[in-house]
Symmetry: C2
Subunit: 204 residues, 2 copies
DNA sequence: GAGATAAATGAACGTCATTCATTTATTGGT
DNA sequence: ACCAATAAATGAATGACGTTCATTTATCTC
């Protein structure tokens, strides 16, 4: 029969479906429908829905901007990379639990990113043994921040329990109205600066 | 009829089920069975499975150790809190996507934690406006690190693509065999120190 | 043109969370 | 002590969903 389907097409359709309907809308049936095909046909090209998620993840990884590591000072490269990384995965938080535990072995795009980042750290003067833990720490922060980026602006509204949490409630109020893209943008920037300063001190 | 069920009992049963069978094993049917009851009976006490997850989350929050904030220097209190927080949620990563976006309004245990942490920051001399963003940044890091704690030791094995990622592969090798509880313990410690140093500099 | 092969189909399955009409036990009022 | 009201448990049913499989269909190769 005509080769209507392939992994690239499935990945593209999955991404479009996710952008339109979110991860709840990403079902094998909906994916098949968007490709004009029966659900069971998908299984000739992917072994499971989990594999679809892995394909999407690899595609997203290729969109993370790590270009700064070959052109900018280390601090700026890290910042650019971290913002790009968080921005992309903030819209794909359901993938984070997959990525964080997924061996990198068969993920060429992910490996390409790690290679470029590692090179940037080496060029900046990091001792080899410090590089992977530093990247892991930064990634942990980026993934956590990606979740926060989806939080509602009033997530810290203490409601009727405000009286029993006076210091917290006052600290929340002191922030005033949020104006950034993400309510947590200020926090992201502060934590990222702290990490960059702290990890940067490990350079030779 | 006899009041066999209540929210506390459901929460306790859910926690035991999770510890024995993991989050895949936490189904409404299994939960009901462990309570000796029909699945539909649960819906007299919780409105949905999501509410069960929220109950579990609140219970876990009450187990996070934030005691150091009233007894230890700020740096040590943050470290103790962060390790406790990560240790608990490393076994409950499916909750993280819920927590990170869940308004704190009806979560007394969570609010109690925030109040204590805020007080600790105030006592340490932080300006009020810096406190919430600092906590948010720390939490983001803790949540991300909780995911990493579940990663397999060989997650960075580049496999047959090793030749095309020489710097990364070498950096991974330079780490030697892992001996910590979690393979990512070294990374967690390094990033946490960096955050503590960087955020600590915001004190008056 | 025949046979092998890759790919699509549609029906079926098992697992879930959830709903609902019904039954059952307990509680409060007289 | 009885009766009505209410809270709570039941079991059958529903509708998604991911996945499997025997069968059919189109394309490629010799």
């Amino acid at each position: 029969m005509a080769a209507i389907l392939d992994q690239d097409g499935i990945t593209a359709a999955a991404l479009e479906l996710i952008s339109k309907k979110g991860y709840d809308g990403l079902t094998m049936a909906a994916l098949a429908r968007s490709l004009g095909v029966a659900p069971s046909a998908l299984y000739n090209h992917v072994s499971s829905k989990d594999e679809v998620l892995k394909l999407v993840e690899e595609d997203l990884m290729s969109k993370v901007d790590f270009g700064g590591f070959s052109t900018l000072p280390w601090e700026d490269a890290v910042r650019q990379w971290a913002y790009s990384y968080r921005g992309i995965f903030a819209k794909h938080t359901p993938l984070i639990s997959v990525i964080a535990v997924l061996p990198v072995t068969d993920a060429p795009q992910t490996l390409a990113m790690y290679e470029a980042v590692t090179e940037g750290f080496l060029r900046a003067g990091f001792p080899e043994q410090q590089i992977i833990p530093s990247i892991v720490a930064l990634e942990a922060y980026i993934f956590g921040a990606a979740f926060d980026a989806n939080a509602p602006a009033d997530i810290f509204d203490s409601g009727k329990l405000a009286e029993s949490t006076p210091h917290f409630t006052s600290a929340v109020r002191s922030l005033g109205p949020q104006t950034d893209n993400y309510p947590s943008d200020l926090a992201f920037s502060m934590g990222l600066d702290a990490l960059i300063a702290g990890l940067g001190a490990l350079r030779a």
